[in-house]
Amino acid sequence: MAQPPLSQRIQRLERELGVRLFERSSRRVTITKGGTLLLDEARQLLARSEALMATARRIQDGHSGLLRAALSPDITGEMVAATLAGFQERQGGVELELHELPTAEQLARLASHDLDVGLIHHPCDVSGLELGPVLRHELGVLLPHAAPAARLETVPLSALSGYELILFPRAHAPAVHDDLLTTCARHGYTPAAVRHGHGSSFTRGLLLSCRAVAFGPRDAYDARDPDLTWRPLSGAPLAWRHSAAWLKGRGDAAVRAFADTVTDALGRTAAVGPDLPSGPTHLRPAAEYWI
């Protein structure tokens, strides 16, 4: 904004509020104590007004608004059904447009305002986002029935060495992918090869045709499958971590209703909590910060 109109606006605002917001001298402008006190309130007001505008946009055409929401592809069918039903109960007047999108694509669409709310997979770049509670699904290993490790009650990651790993395509959630491989390496399992695939029949086929394993939560595994076995991992080193996410300041009633719905639906099978590492976290000197 050009300087003269900006100064006029500020002066008008100061008159309206009856508070001097800035000290002006010929060389510099500094915010007053009163201005600082009002700044927080003003920021909150702006954030609320964005949420109001988001709702307004949603209901511009007709009475029923539209909420564009997404779930990640690793979510079970039961979970999708529970989300649809639960949201209908909470916000019957709002039409839900539900997409299946990987985390990376959800983040891109949230940033470009093409998505209102999503269920994302952590870790990922959370800058500019507001998040619902983080839910943790412990992962076990899915392996051919005949594999020696299938006879163990719980499987240490190191017992999988020699097996290839079937994992979702890295582009879906690069940090989740890389973190999982780092944790495997930390616990003595460096896969001979990583095969990228998703979809349960594809994964099943790969599992049966070669010496490979996959990771997944217990509820994603069909216990009636005669050829595959699911086993917990010793020490529970791996987990999926999900949370609802939306752009800061855009969390209106419909967005929050969706966030609560997916959190509830996921919460039936997952543990709620931030899932902090149980071991130490060592910062090295090159980190430059010390906390």
């Binding site: 800058s127 590492p277 430059e288 906390i291």
Partner: protein
């Protein structure tokens, strides 16, 4: 080969490869590289506002030398540094236990060589935050602002992580609310502003030649090999730089000099998707991206 259109194509190709390298390393990155003598440049998000973190120590260093040049302070002046009240940090005076006494220029050495936060705040107190901003403003860095000391920066990190230590960074909700990662509430700049600053130092425009030479010497004494320098594993190529870091953020700005007198100012700022403290690929991609940019400028 010297046709501008060929160069533009080479630079666009470099930009694509730089973006691919950032994605491969699991980071979002912003880069600006400029040939200090011809002004040719590679721009991959050069005007994005970024958190500078310790990269801002370069601005403190230039402000220190400008004040010395004006006779407002002596670089050999001794400063007392008692053990109490030091800014936390893993290196230099921040990590030392006993009372110390250093000259301003030796404090500057510690600030640049090992990113010593205590040395940086000692100098910042002597120079003043406003003088640092006056320095960057005069050099035309319109998007560069220092709003806090390094101690204040670390204090917001501790406060926002609930004094729970680095483990707390694994919680995405903690990460999402860190003020230290929000350019609006901490020291900030752009990649383009930072290469402008470095080019001014390398062209003796920021200070008189002997002061510029002293600044260049300190930037050359930085000990970290894992970021910018890792992209130039060549014994005949000289790399000078300053890193900056915060949870998920890894930055470095510097100048790369070739024996044929080619010299390039490069600024790389990255943000990792993972909060892990140790991500060698995210450090190394700063060097990889810088090398891609410099090669395009030299083609």
């Amino acid at each position: 080969m010297t046709e501008p259109r060929t160069h533009a194509r080479a630079h666009a190709r470099a930009r694509d490869r730089i973006r691919a390298a950032f994605a491969e390393a699991g980071v979002t990155g912003w880069l600006h590289a400029v040939d200090i003598d011809s002004g040719a440049q590679v721009d991959a998000g050069a005007d994005h506002t970024v958190v500078t973190a310790s990269v801002h120590k370069v601005c403190v260093l230039v402000a220190l030398h400008q004040q010395a040049e004006k006779g407002r302070l002596e670089l050999t002046e001794q400063a007392e540094c008692p053990p109490d009240g030091r800014t936390p940090g893993p290196t230099g005076l921040s990590a030392m236990l006993d009372p110390a006494r250093v000259s301003l220029r030796d404090a500057a050495y510690l600030m640049m060589a090992v990113s010593d936060n205590t040395a940086a705040d000692l100098l910042l107190r002597r120079v003043g935050l406003e003088a640092v901003n006056a320095t960057t403003r005069r050099l035309g860095l319109t998007r560069t602002h220092a709003v806090q000391t390094f101690g204040e920066f670390v204090a917001t990190l501790k406060e926002d992580t609930g004094h729970a230590g680095p483990q707390a960074l694994a919680d995405p909700r903690v990460l999402a609310r860190l003020r230290a990662l929000d350019p609006a509430s901490t020291n900030r700049s752009t990649p383009r502003d930072m290469t402008r600053l470095l080019a001014a130092v390398w062209r003796d425009e920021a200070c008189a030649p002997q002061h510029s030479a002293a600044i260049r010497r300190l930037l050359s004494l930085q000990v970290w090999p894992h970021r910018l320098a890792s992209g130039f594993p060549f014994d005949d190529v000289h790399v000078a730089g300053k890193t900056g870091s915060a949870p998920t953020l890894r930055n470095e700005v510097g100048v790369v000099e070739y024996p044929d007198r080619g010299r390039y100012a490069v600024a790389v700022f990255t943000r990792a998707a993972s909060p892990a403290a140790i991500l060698p690929a995210a450090d190394a991609v700063i060097g990889t991206a810088a090398h891609l940019a410099v090669d395009a400028l030299r083609s």
